[in-house]
């Protein structure tokens, strides 16, 4: 049973919901926002149990075998290979690791080496948390997200990255249920509508949680009513909660909200 927490807009409260939902219901947590992982900040006394480097394959050319025929360049859709008169150059940051160049090289001059793209850190406190950390300068988080996902076994809460493009899709696509976190603002409403479109495209079950409930904008609640999106819980707008979050603290006084949200999800699955 995997529950993914997503949003569209950033900063609506995915991390707040993910860490508290996992902690107060005793479920393992997986932070797939590998560009900016923050969940671990809330488990200060946790012990690191494992750290592993994640790599992807990128080509290298054996210049002694290469006859500069240009086949590798022709089959590369990402313009990651330039063939000169007497040298074949690879631009690994443009490479998608598809393997076409090495597969088609008539001289078998291309092999593949590991390029580190980040790491997965597993920590243990009352619950287990695994999170990915993308290497700075690496363009695509998707291969690392896939690697963190392979660690999931059994029940899991997944903290997805913001947005509605490939990293978010990869993070939620195998979930049994998606919780969309929205806040009562016009920005969040706009991005919530986009996130719903992604979820419809993936044909997943979902519901919403409204964070900062009490801000003066009713568009999000209206939209949920109109579209018959179940609202699983509301986290109040409060400076106390904001301060707690700022220090990286869990919301013990509000634990009931997170238990109810979880029960609500279980009823719908």
């Amino acid at each position: 049973m995997q529950i993914a927490i997503a949003s569209g807009k950033g900063g609506t409260g995915k991390t707040t919901l993910a860490v508290n939902l996992a902690y107060f219901n005793g479920i393992d947590l997986f932070d797939l926002d590998v560009e900016e992982p923050n969940d671990y900040l809330f488990f200060k006394n946790a012990k690191e149990v494992e750290s592993e480097v994640v790599s992807r394959k990128v080509p290298v050319v054996d210049q002694s075998k290469c006859d500069y025929c240009g086949k590798c360049r022709d089959v590369c859709e990402y313009n990651a290979i330039v063939v000169l008169k007497d040298e074949t150059m690879i631009f690994p940051e443009l490479c998608h690791s598809c393997g076409a160049c090495s597969y088609f090289c008539p001289q078998e001059a291309i092999s593949e080496v590991d390029r580190p793209i980040g790491k997965i850190i597993s920590i243990k406190s009352e619950i287990n948390l695994a999170y990915g950390v993308l290497e700075v300068g690496e363009a695509s988080p998707v291969p690392l997200i896939r690697a963190v996902k392979r660690k999931i076994a059994g029940n899991a809460i997944i903290d997805a990255p913001p947005g509605t493009s490939c990293p978010m899709v990869e993070s939620i696509r195998d979930a049994d249920f998606v919780v969309l976190v929205a806040e009562p603002t016009p920005f969040s409403l706009h991005d919530l509508k986009l996130a719903v479109k992604v979820i419809d495209r993936l044909d997943l079950k979902f519901g919403a949680v409204i964070n900062k409930h009490g801000l003066p904008f009713d568009g999000v609640e209206k939209f949920c009513r109109q579209e018959k999106i179940p609202v699983l819980g509301r986290i109040p707008f409060s400076t106390e909660i904001a301060e707690r979050y700022s220090k990286g603290e869990l919301l013990f006084e509000y634990r009931d909200i997170f238990k109810e949200i979880y029960d609500g999800v279980m009823e719908l699955v």
Binding site: E36, N38, A139
Partner: protein, 291 residues
């Protein structure tokens, strides 16, 4: 010649879009072109209310498609695809999951039956619009699509051309959260990056990562702390980090409940106390950009 200011944050929801909208108004006298580099959760248009004058389809990617009449079900594509995009149906036929296909064309080039075609798909739209403050270039990636970095690059390049043509002094580029391809594309060519953070542990950590990124690409950066009075202790930590690393803090904006109230009415929030801090910050940045 114009100067490019890219507004980033690392963490989402720290106030990039609000600040960009206010800067757009403040820079309008100088001549500004505005670009929204958040293409999968774009929000700037909500405040700037652009009038679209040109709509350009964006063909960001190709997708493989199998012709079932030609396919001999040999399974080679299934074996070769590294993105698990080729799926085997119960009846033994193969098909492509378009959301997983990265358009590498390995299957297309390898298929012995020539049963695979590469189709160019429209994965979004680019808009060139008029606003009260200047021309705005923005885009919408179709929900769930890839190539957001490529789309951001197109938005940036179009905005640059318009800035040159209109003899604008400033190009404002509102970035997206994170440190991946769309953010890298937003930062390309920037004369200065403004990193907007908030005094939270996440805000601090995410700011550090995005500053590592700007350093990696050798782009000068300044920092602004939004909602600075939420946690003064953390604001102090952000200041300390910045001063240790020679990064100037160009603004500290206190939390002002009037600001979200004005935004909920779709107003650019000038009529509130916090806006004075944003005006002052623009004056500092204007000097830094030398415009």
């Amino acid at each position: 010649m114009f100067k490019q200011l890219t507004i980033v944050s690392g963490k989402g929801g720290t106030g990039k879009t609000t600040v960009t909208a206010m800067f757009s108004v403040l820079a309008s006298k100088k001549g500004v072109v505005i670009a929204d580099g958040d293409v999968d959760a774009a929000n700037l248009h909500i405040l700037l209310k652009p009038e679209v004058i040109e709509e350009i389809p964006f063909y960001g990617s190709k997708k493989a498609i199998i012709d079932p009449d030609l396919c001999v079900s040999c399974g080679l594509c299934y074996e070769l695809c590294r993105f698990d995009a080729v799926q085997k149906k119960e009846n033994g036929e193969y098909h492509i999951d378009e959301l997983k296909c990265e358009g590498c064309a390995l299957c297309y080039n390898a298929c012995p039956a020539e049963a695979i075609e590469m189709q160019i798909v429209e994965s979004g739209k680019i808009f060139v619009s008029n606003t009260k403050y200047g021309v705005m270039v923005h885009a919408m990636l179709n929900p769930g699509e890839e190539s957001s970095g490529k789309l951001v690059s197109e938005v940036r390049e179009r905005a640059k051309k318009i800035a040159e043509m209109k003899n604008a002094k400033v190009l404002l580029l509102d970035g997206s959260p994170g440190i991946g391809c769309p953010v890298i594309a937003s930062l390309t060519g920037a004369d200065l990056a403004l990193v907007i953070t908030e005094p939270t542990l996440s805000g601090l950590r995410d700011m550090q990562r995005v500053l590592d990124l700007t350093e990696h690409f050798e782009i000068g950066s300044v920092v602004a702390i939004n909602k600075c009075d939420l946690n003064m202790d953390m604001t102090g930590k952000i200041r300390d980090f910045c001063s240790r690393n020679g990064i100037e803090v160009v603004g500290e904006i206190p939390y002002d409940p009037e600001l979200p109230a004005l935004i909920s009415q779709l107003k650019i929030p000038f009529e509130c106390g916090a806006s004075e801090h944003i005006r002052a910050m623009w004056d500092t940045i204007k000097e830094k950009l030398d415009v």
